[in-house]
Symmetry: C2
Subunit: 247 residues, 2 copies
């Protein structure tokens, strides 16, 4: 197995070097061989290379600098529009205006996205996922002109690394893998699982900087707040409705 | 880049050979290095190896034979339970009982799932995704004993291939990739994109077998019917509610 899986890190700083069209086509082709439900391929990938388009996309991604600095920005979308058009053109009445169909299409898009990322990293490229694709889906839809049936689910910036950051921590494998049955976590298990993460210098720094008592509070009170999650939940559900997935 | 991305096919028939624990750990470890939102790792993987557990899972997957025939069945779950427990144990009040948090966790789980599949295939293993994970999430939750905060999003069977099926078709890459903006499809484009798929002998066979006029009708009237999609939409939304993601 190639070692990239184990040595990879998210890359947020890119060199000025462009990604050649042939290489981009290769990693997207790798992605296109990924399993999709019933081989329907109900996803689309929008490639942003143009600087003006990056500038227009940036606010939807809270102006994270990767959007304008990366040579390529990829927006992966759940997409039943193409399939629905085909059905209607072939005397078939599509029944894909519902939540399950959104999930089907979102799953297609996300699995393809990850193969594209694995393939890109194997070629030496660096990638960064932007969670903002679900937060501000409405703005992304507007900028990229997505019709009914199309909803962004992930945005990835891609470029040649201009940094080799430290590899971030992961929980022990046993913390995320369950054998045969989900075994719920006891307080002792939670302490064990999170001990190394909480002891890291960088994480201790975040707790201090934000004047919090625990690292968990940095997540709940600073990074991923209840009020924000609820606000963006409402927005994303409204997008599913307006894009035709909640009939 | 390793060639597996381009030569892969879904494998539904497996040899009797087991998957050694070390190899399984290796592909799961590869998966665990995948990007997750804020490095929260809000997913879990449930490994089914026990024959009795496979028998119990099978009905939830409409008794597709891969479930009992594969040496390993992996159920990938959106999981905020572990993270919520950690927060509560650290004087932090989690605000993750909403739809956006479900999407965040589902995205984590799906990206990890696809890295596990890519890594498995690179090692010569064969995989098959079962769409039924979202259809019958309620039954899977019951059999695998998932608590509140945990929802299955994908099931993958893994084993050593006992077949080399023909590689299935894919739409031309240009059909799923848009440059700069989503360019909606004209009727001529739809004809072009689907022409090769519709002309395939296997697909012509499905149309004839089902006494349909077009391949699209095989999808809308036989494989992915509106009534079924609506039924499973309701069920999955109810699962999100009962597992604590629609507060």
């Amino acid at each position: 197995m190639n070692s990239t899986y184990f040595t990879r890190r998210t890359i947020r700083k890119y060199s000025d070097r462009d990604i050649e069209a042939g290489l981009l086509e290769k990693i997207l082709t790798a992605g296109s061989r990924t399993s999709t439900t019933g081989n329907m391929q109900v996803y689309s990938i929008i490639v942003t290379r143009d600087n003006m388009m990056k500038e227009r996309l940036a606010p939807a991604h809270f102006n994270q600098p990767m959007v304008t600095a990366a040579p390529v920005v990829l927006t992966f979308c759940a997409d039943f529009n193409r399939f629905n058009r085909w059905c209607r053109q072939r005397e078939a009445e599509p029944g894909y205006d519902n939540f399950l169909s959104f999930m089907t299409a979102a799953i297609d898009a996300l699995l393809v996205a990850q193969t594209v990322c694995n393939a890109a990293e194997e070629e030496g490229l660096g990638i960064c996922y932007l969670g903002t694709a679900t937060y501000n889906a409405d703005k992304i839809i507007e900028v990229l002109e997505m019709p009914t049936g199309v909803v962004p689910v992930a945005t990835v910036t891609v470029g040649w690394p201009a940094e080799i950051p430290d590899q971030v921590d992961r929980l022990p494998l046993e913390a995320v893998v369950h054998m045969e049955r989900y075994r719920d976590y006891t307080p002792d298990m939670i302490d064990d699982i999170y001990r190394a993460k909480e002891a890291r210098q960088d994480n201790l720094g975040f707790v201090a900087e934000n004047s919090k008592k625990t690292l968990a509070q940095v997540f709940t009170d600073v990074r991923y707040k209840k009020a924000d999650n609820e606000f963006f939940s409402g927005k994303y559900l409204e997008v599913l409705r307006s894009q035709g997935f909640m009939a």
